[in-house]
Subunit: 228 residues, 2 copies
Amino acid sequence: MQLSVDGDAAKKDAPISQSGLVYEALSAAIMKGELAPGAKLSEPAIAEQLGVSRAPVREAIRRLQERGVVHHTANQGARVVAPTLEQFLALLDVREALEGMTSRLAATAMSEEAVADLRALVAEHGTAFSEDPTGPYMQESRDTDFHVRIARGCGNPVLTDLLCVQFYPQLKLCRLQHRGQKGRGLAAWKEHDRIAQAIADRDGELAELLMRRHIRAARAALLQSQGR
Amino acid sequence: MQLSVDGDAAKKDAPISQSGLVYEALSAAIMKGELAPGAKLSEPAIAEQLGVSRAPVREAIRRLQERGVVHHTANQGARVVAPTLEQFLALLDVREALEGMTSRLAATAMSEEAVADLRALVAEHGTAFSEDPTGPYMQESRDTDFHVRIARGCGNPVLTDLLCVQFYPQLKLCRLQHRGQKGRGLAAWKEHDRIAQAIADRDGELAELLMRRHIRAARAALLQSQGR
DNA sequence: GATCTTATTTGTGTCGACACCTTAGTGCTG
DNA sequence: CAGCACTAAGGTGTCGACACAAATAAGATC
């Protein structure tokens, strides 16, 4: 494990506090797979590696727990969660309901400007695909971008927070552990395009249907790639 | 404010750790309204009142933040969240989707024994109602019980956790600040009864419909009582 | 040689203290 | 008298250290 606080943490809003730095460092390490699922988070070790005290480390671990990417047991420390396939599937089932609702609301609530941005994003992904048809990691980043925009545009702050703060980090971790789903990039892009179109048409019912189908398709691809 | 650690904290699994005691004390104080929404949580004050250091207090506040009942801003401390009516409504909207799904799943996943327990609970509430038709607080406790049982029986751990850990505490806080909805107790009980029956009949589609209607009715009653 | 017991070590939970920030109160200036 | 700068108080963020629990390693017994 190789942690660093300076890395790319200062991309957006640089956290001045030390706990923020530790959080960024741990979060990046987990998402990059350096801290594997199931790995134990030793407070003294992390504190020494980052040159801080244990207090900000504890704070950062708490924030990670809030996001659902680490699990903490009493007198036993924190471990990176290692989601089973069943938990992954359960997460996707709930996600289908939530994002279906999100898409339906977004079709009504999103501003014209936000809709235009969304369509531009999908178009950009399309051109990028025509150049490089296979880009698994980039695709994941794009996928997240797409869904985050819709979550932000649904007009229900509870829903937005729930998805962005809890579901998307956990999903990322799940994907990290259960890799697969090769070749779904293009199909996913087409589905994104149709969803964006439905939202642009202000057709909430269709947007929900397409989004639910989109997530069910991803779930099915996962099941197939995991051999069940 | 009058905090106490001994109270009724030792009802179920007594937390051995001090942070657990502080958490119980703060949680109880918030839910009983002693710590009003918007009130600031001063770490030194709480630490002194409970006779502990600031460390377990910080830990407890973190856990409360995880539940969504306090909000923490950097260098500014934590405050009990004061949900606006709009946030309350947004929470109910998401809850409708989640609990609708929960009821549908529970109709299939709940064991015969759990279904029997659920129906017994509803029946018990019915007899209690015939004796005392108005019992606002008790009704809220009963309402929570009913919904928790369904959440536990849906078979999707993500859904169960989301509802029990995040939504129900926040809902309790919302009800605390936006009181009203007098007289909906009996109507709510009837709706509970129908939902339980649909689950007992293993009719997931109907259970979802009834649950969504149940929550929409509560939402409408809230809107009316809050004068909009 | 395997297993139970015991000692060591690592790590978490908690404590008291200090530095910096935020805020409220006070005095000064125009 | 109003507005601003300054000071003081309170509070959070962080630190180092200690007590207790858990996991591990070593030793003794069967």
